[in-house]
């Protein structure tokens, strides 16, 4: 049961990473902001201004 819970926790963490939820949480943590439309807009501004956008493979 514990192993299953652990596996589900890792799966959820992977999904949160793939879907950028973790990145947003880290952004909030780093900038000491609370989640809000303004904070999410700032998060996307920062991601979009990065010089290396994430490629997606064929």
């Amino acid at each position: 049961m514990r192993a299953m819970t652990q596996a589900l926790r890792i799966l959820l963490a992977a999904l949160r990473e793939i879907f950028d939820e973790s990145a947003y949480a880290r952004f909030l943590d780093r900038t000491q902001m609370k989640s809000s439309p303004a904070a999410y807009a700032a998060f996307w501004r920062e991601r979009d201004s990065g010089s290396k956008p994430r490629p997606r493979c064929c």
Partner: protein, 680 residues
């Protein structure tokens, strides 16, 4: 586990694997069960991972668990971040798994199930996984540097410039091919077109919801988006049955191409949160779920493969694309066996997340094995169809004939019986007007997938829903590539133009955004337009061009890998990357030779240009002649550039091995990991 038990277990795995591969390879004349493919693949991957990747990890790369990775040393909470290995695995797999491993194997199934299966298994274990693993580790040891930066530092300036140009060229051709596959899947299909059109407002809605209502709750909104997409699939059936609405969504190839070109421009120029990111989330959500479902479906249903092991088309006369099994099977299937594009991901975001060097084996080698398994599923989906039906769907009208009677007669005469009534009832079952000449691989994959799903979930009555779910799944995949690829190419062009005129390099300056978006969309739009007007279906010329470009990038990646291995004084093990490199050079250079100079007009670009010029003059003749000559020039430029990298690399290898040049690698200095103290 004690040693005798381990030896026993691995001996059993090896024996079962050998038997399964032998059955797949030797059985002739009667259909085989798809489970043989599954067992062969599982055993090959298990053996490859346990023994070959371990050999590479310990003897060549000397993975060091004590060495701090850039994620630890440069951790900034943004790009560099120590991350759980399974999370990185999922992240990496989600980035490398696109439509390539689904479409390539479906097209190559014209040779039979055997060539594709063997290439996918051997190519992945000995080449693709090795490339992804080695490049990932080398990037980790260089602070997460990109392939182009590593090529510049380790091979020289020529390597860097060629890698950069190859990436742009591949992106342009990839985007054109991807768009062409969507066009071919959606043309004259009101159901499919409606469903895909609906994903745009759904993505907008998701973007606005994420931005205004529940900031950052992506999983939540992805579930919501998925439910809306399912409703759009269901609604598409109603649209297709309503004559007035159906006519609005029944579009020909040219109209769809123009709409997709416009969409690509909008996706590149609009703010990323509004369209690109929500669609990416939606696509990833659908992708991971569907791949898992398909794997379960194949294992649970274990369907019979009706396609023979080898077809008569190994001689190069195939209707899906022209060219002999060597080299064309090996450039048609890229992503499931080896794909140069993966080296960009392995030297992109992934190396910045790796917590310990030892995890690169699981992420680099392991994720590519998972991708290869997706290709095996695609081969299964294509080969469960009756061969006559497979060829009727995938053959262009220019090859088999424009009418149902003519097409079925041609295909039946090849020894693959099919009658118009079969095709009509199948089209009816999946809710389409016709399934003839639906080239590009996506519709055949969708029919195969619907066949597998409908037999295990819902029966024949829901086959149309499964078919359109599969089309939506592929189109969503591909449109995400269009969005992200156009934007990545735009950033790369802006980066280069910024050296000429600084404001052009600013990614937030709108004149630059619009100009570079237009440039990149015009580039792939040109090839797309060429594809939709091509009487041979477009895929015949564009997919090999994409395969050549992609494998040439893999050649550059393997040149970088071999150079670094030699510089690490492990030349005696350099065959690990040299053998796949030599194979790819043989494949890509031979394919390029054929595509440019072959005297068969169906194969050679120049021969086709000559045939068109000497044939009946139509308003399109001049353009088709020009297009073929342009394709030939693009191929020659790519090959010459990669030959330069190869020569430059070989010069370095000889200089180092003869002592003429010092073997100095440009790794980041060793720093002991803090996890050593923490006992992690």
């Amino acid at each position: 586990m004690n040693k005798p038990l381990s030896v026993l277990i691995w001996s059993i795995v090896a024996s079962v694997g050998a038997i399964a591969v032998a059955v797949v390879a030797i059985r002739r004349g009667e259909p085989i069960n798809a489970l043989w493919l599954v067992v062969a693949a599982t055993c090959c991957y298990a053996l490859g991972y346990r023994f070959y990747s371990k050999f590479i990890a310990s003897k060549i790369l000397a993975l060091d668990a004590m060495r701090a990775t850039p994620a630890e040393r440069l951790e900034n909470g943004r790009d560099f971040l120590v991350t759980n290995k399974w999370v990185v695995f999922g992240h990496h797999f989600a980035a490398i798994a696109g439509p390539g491993p689904l479409v390539g194997p479906v097209l190559a199934a014209q040779f039979g199930y055997l060539p594709g299966t063997l290439w996918v298994l051997a190519g992945a274990v000995f080449a693709g996984c090795v490339q992804d693993f080695v490049i990932l580790l080398f990037s980790v040891r260089r602070d997460g540097k990109s392939l182009t930066e590593m090529a510049k530092e380790e091979i020289g300036r020529v390597g860097g410039i060629v890698a950069y140009t190859a990436v742009i060229a591949i992106l342009v051709i990839l985007l054109a091919v991807a768009a062409l596959i969507v066009v071919n899947a959606l043309k004259d299909s009101p159901w499919g077109t409606f469903t895909i059109a609906m994903t745009i407002p759904i993505a907008f809605l998701m973007g606005l919801y994420l931005r205004r209502i529940r900031p950052g709750k992506v999983l939540e909104v992805s579930v919501m988006g998925f439910v809306l997409v399912l409703l759009a699939i269901w609604g598409g059936q109603w649209i297709s049955q309503n004559p007035a609405l159906a006519s609005v969504f029944t579009l020909n190839a040219q109209s769809l191409a123009l709409l997709i070109i416009g969409y690509g421009f909008a996706a590149s120029a609009l703010p990323v949160w509004l369209l690109l990111a929500p669609r990416d989330y939606l696509s990833t959500f659908v992708k991971l779920g569907t791949i898992g479902l398909l794997a379960v479906g194949i294992v649970a249903l274990h369907p019979t493969l009706h396609m023979p092991a080898l077809t008569r088309f190994v001689d190069g006369t195939g209707p899906v694309f022209a060219g002999k099994i060597f080299p064309f099977a090996f450039i048609t299937i890229a992503c499931g066996a080896i794909s140069g594009f993966h080296s960009l991901i392995s030297s992109g975001t992934t190396p910045k997340l790796i917590a310990r060097e030892t995890e690169t084996r699981m992420v680099g080698y392991g994720a590519m094995m998972a991708e290869s398994a997706v290709a095996i599923m695609a081969i299964t989906a294509a080969c469960v169809l009756q061969p006559g039906i497979y060829f009727a769907i995938n053959s262009p009208a220019g090859v088999v004939g424009a009418t149902a009677a003519k097409a079925t007669e041609t295909i039946s005469n090849w020894g693959f019986p099919v009658v118009p009534a079969d095709m009509q009832s199948l089209a009816h079952a999946v809710g389409e007007q016709t399934l003839f000449n639906r080239t590009g691989g996506a519709p055949a994959f969708a029919v195969g997938m619907a066949h597998i799903f409908s037999q295990s979930l819902g029966g024949e009555t829901v086959m149309a829903l499964w078919y359109h779910f599969a089309v939506m799944f592929e189109a969503l995949f591909i449109l995400t590539i269009l969005d992200a690829g156009t934007r990545v190419a735009r950033f790369m062009i802006q980066d280069a133009l910024g050296h000429i005129y600084k404001p052009l390099g600013r990614t937030s300056w709108y004149p630059s955004i619009l100009a570079t978006s237009a440039l990149i969309v015009a580039a792939w739009g040109f090839f797309l337009w060429q594809g939709v007007r091509d009487p041979l279906g477009g895929i015949n010329s564009l997919w090999p061009l994409f395969g050549i470009a992609n494998q040439l990038l893999a050649t550059v990646a393997l040149c970088v890998a071999t150079t670094i291995i030699i510089k690490l004084h492990r030349a005696k093990y350099a065959l690990v990357s040299l053998v796949p490199l030599a194979w790819l050079v043989a494949v890509t250079f031979t394919a390029s030779w054929h595509k440019v100079l072959d005297s068969n007009p169906r194969v050679g670009f120049l021969a086709q240009a000559r045939a068109l010029a000497n044939g009946l003059a139509t308003p399109a003749t001049a353009r088709l002649v020009f297009n073929n000559r342009l394709d030939a020039v693009v191929t020659v430029i790519l090959v010459v550039m990669v030959a330069l990298v190869l020569l430059e690399s070989a010069r370095q290898w000889i200089a180092i091995l003869t002592g003429g040049e010092a073997a100095a690698v440009k790794e980041a200095p060793f720093v002991r990991t803090r996890f050593a103290e923490e006992g992690a």
